[in-house]
């Protein structure tokens, strides 16, 4: 290979990295300033004094912001487990059993996945109100599962198709039932697919906004994106608190993305390419 202008390449890479991180870095810096520093002129680019006061204050004065993060955890984890369980079964049946309506079902599932969430709101709100599911974890978990099951089924079905069918056929010859084959053979073989799908569904659920906004009306039940966005009113924003709460709420996602980068990228591109 001949020598190419590497400086140009590195400049472009550095530029994209800086632009990607800029809002996050600026937010973290803001959360480490005191109130005077945040609203100072000339502006402070580096916190002076550097302080963790805002973090201490959140714990002592506005613990509801931490509660939002906990709510997000419960909902996202519940949604991930539910979608992987029932979506795994469906994906397995649709990829391995020749069913009369199998192909139609796959297209149907893809089509409904494109429904705009806001168009579900009038009806979902009314039904959840009637059923007493507003402001419950199980309610939002089921709602999120509905949103993200199509993605899960497609991802897992395409993963199951990559497994060699011989092992399952041998197990069938031995008289194993489908459920046992799924539990003892398919799941152990396809855990990378489950991990990638689960991570993406967890992120989707953590980030979901419209349904979380409408189906959790009580302050104590709000998820992190909604709770922080509505805190405390729409106009006067206490940026020292907001920036700190936002940093806390995105840390789990930052960590997950950093550790499982490969799986997430692999899953996303496979999901979108199918």
């Amino acid at each position: 290979m001949n020598k190419r202008p590497r400086i140009g390449l590195y400049t472009l890479v550095a530029l994209s990295v800086v632009i990607s991180f800029l809002p996050i870095v600026w937010l973290i810096l803001t959360s480490l300033k005191n109130t005077a520093g945040i609203y100072a002129w000339p502006p402070q680019y580096w916190p002076d004094p550097f302080t963790f006061d805002n973090y201490v204050k959140i714990v002592t004065e506005s613990p509801e912001l931490l509660l939002y993060v906990l709510n997000s955890f419960i909902v996202a984890l519940g949604c991930t487990l539910l979608t992987l369980t029932i979506g795994g079964l469906a994906g397995y049946a649709l990829s391995r059993i020749k069913m009369r309506w199998g192909a139609v079902l796959m297209v149907f599932i893809l089509a409904v996945s494109m429904f705009p969430p806001v168009s579900l709101l009038p009806s979902l709100f009314q039904n959840f109100l009637k059923l007493g599911l507003l402001n419950t974890y199980s309610g939002l978990i089921i709602a999120h599962a509905g949103l993200f099951l199509p993605f899960t089924v497609w991802m897992l079905a395409s993963y199951f198709r990559t497994l060699p069918p011989e092992i399952e056929e041998a197990a069938r010859m031995d008289g194993m039932g489908l459920m046992r084959i799924f539990l003892t053979i398919v799941i152990p073989l396809s855990w990378p697919g489950f991990v990638a799908t689960g991570l993406i569904v967890f992120i989707f659920s953590w980030n979901e906004f419209p349904l979380a906004l409408v189906l959790m009306t009580q302050n104590a039940m709000r998820t992190a994106p909604v709770g922080i966005s509505l805190y405390p009113g729409e106009y006067a924003f206490p940026w020292e608190t907001i920036s700190t709460a936002t940093v806390i709420a995105i840390i789990p996602i930052l960590v997950i993305t950093a550790i499982f980068q490969k799986q997430i990228v692999g899953g996303l591109t496979a999901g979108a390419g199918k």
């Binding site: 590497r6 390449l9 472009l12 890479v13 994209s16 990295v17 990607s20 991180f21 800029l22 809002p23 996050i24 600026w26 803001t30 609203y39 502006p43 079964l89 469906a90 649709l94 059993i97 069913m99 079902l105 409904v112 494109m114 429904f115 705009p116 969430p117 168009s119 579900l120 009038p122 009806s123 979902l124 039904n127 109100l129 089921i142 949103l147 489908l178 459920m179 992120i203 980030n207 906004f209 419209p210 409408v214 992190a224 994106p225 922080i228 966005s229 940026w239 907001i242 709420a249 995105i250 996602i253 930052l254 993305t257 950093a258 980068q261 997430i264 990228v265 996303l268 591109t269 390419g273």
Partner: protein, 297 residues
């Protein structure tokens, strides 16, 4: 047809059906039934808590909709936002993908940096940008004022045109990475031999890109474009958190207007007619998506 199945096959079919049932049940309850109910609601009059019985009013809400300037404005805002952000995302996405396909040191970090904006909640991303756009204490005005580029602070979110541009920038920042990832996967599946053959023919880098890379990327680009267009057409938390649709209604998307009609103005059935129209727009697009994918195979 069924009669030709052996008992064993029939049991497999039954088990398969049992495996699919829970998923279909949840999807029906959360996605299919609500859409059908929204359609019914949009032709009637009722109350949100069900205390007032449903009364059929025919096309009344759709007639109102046809004469509702704010509805047409929100449709226009949504289409403008989509038309402005998607081409920019595509150009940047292709650029980023080509960049990420090169070999260089620190590639892992660069990839992670590109992935972050996509992985974080849009609502919180938007808050970060709103803070940078802040007219009095934001980063952008601080830099612009201190360096002497401007003499007075720029009202990024308070001017109709600037607010739309600011919103587009946040969207482009967040989702170019998604485009890049899909296009990158396409890039990596292009056989190396093609480039070697190109080099033998004395092609320049640019010719290689135009004559080998781009034609082979048509599939992934199409997928990325359609997925993103549908996303942009239903954008909600971005204007909700950045501008609340303002100034006035300059950035009020269809989703945001529908939400306000239902939950702020408590015009339950009228809101249903707005979401039905939005659903139809997106549904037609999604059908186009499925058919293009089918033709690709």
């Amino acid at each position: 047809m069924m009669s030709s199945l052996s008992p064993l096959d029939r049991r497999r079919q039954q088990t398969g059906l049992a495996f699919v049932t829970p998923t279909l049940l949840v999807i029906s309850l959360i996605l299919v039934y609500p859409i059908l109910q929204s359609i019914v609601l949009s032709f009637g009059s009722s109350s949100i808590d069900g205390s007032e019985p449903y009364r059929f009013v025919g096309l009344k809400h759709y007639m109102t909709l046809a004469g509702d300037d704010r509805f047409w404005n929100s449709l226009w805002v949504t289409l403008t936002f989509t038309a402005l952000s998607i081409p920019l995302e595509l150009i940047l996405g292709v650029g980023l993908a080509v960049l990420m396909n090169e070999h260089f040191r620190g590639k892992g970090l660069a990839r992670l940096a590109v992935l972050f904006p996509w992985a974080l909640p849009t609502a919180l991303n938007t808050l970060m940008w709103r803070w940078m756009y802040n007219a009095d204490y934001g980063l952008f005005n601080a830099v612009a004022l201190q360096s002497g580029i401007v003499e007075r602070p720029i009202n990024w979110l308070g001017d109709e045109t600037l607010a739309m541009m600011s919103m587009v920038i946040v969207s482009v920042w967040k989702t170019s990475s998604f485009m890049a990832l899909i296009i990158l996967a396409g890039l990596q599946s292009i056989p190396r031999e093609l480039y070697e053959a190109g080099r033998m023919d004395g092609m320049s880098k640019w010719q290689e890109f135009r004559e080998i890379t781009l034609p082979l990327l048509r599939g992934p680009i199409l997928v990325a474009l359609i997925v993103r267009s549908m996303d942009a057409l239903r954008t909600f938390e971005l204007p909700f958190n950045l501008t609340d649709g303002g100034p006035v209604t300059a950035t009020e998307s269809l989703s945001l207007y529908a939400y306000k009609v239902i939950f702020d103005f408590i015009e339950f059935n009228y809101g249903a007619s707005i979401v039905v129209v939005q659903f139809l727009v997106i549904f037609v697009m999604s059908l186009a998506y499925i058919f293009t994918l089918r033709n690709k195979d």
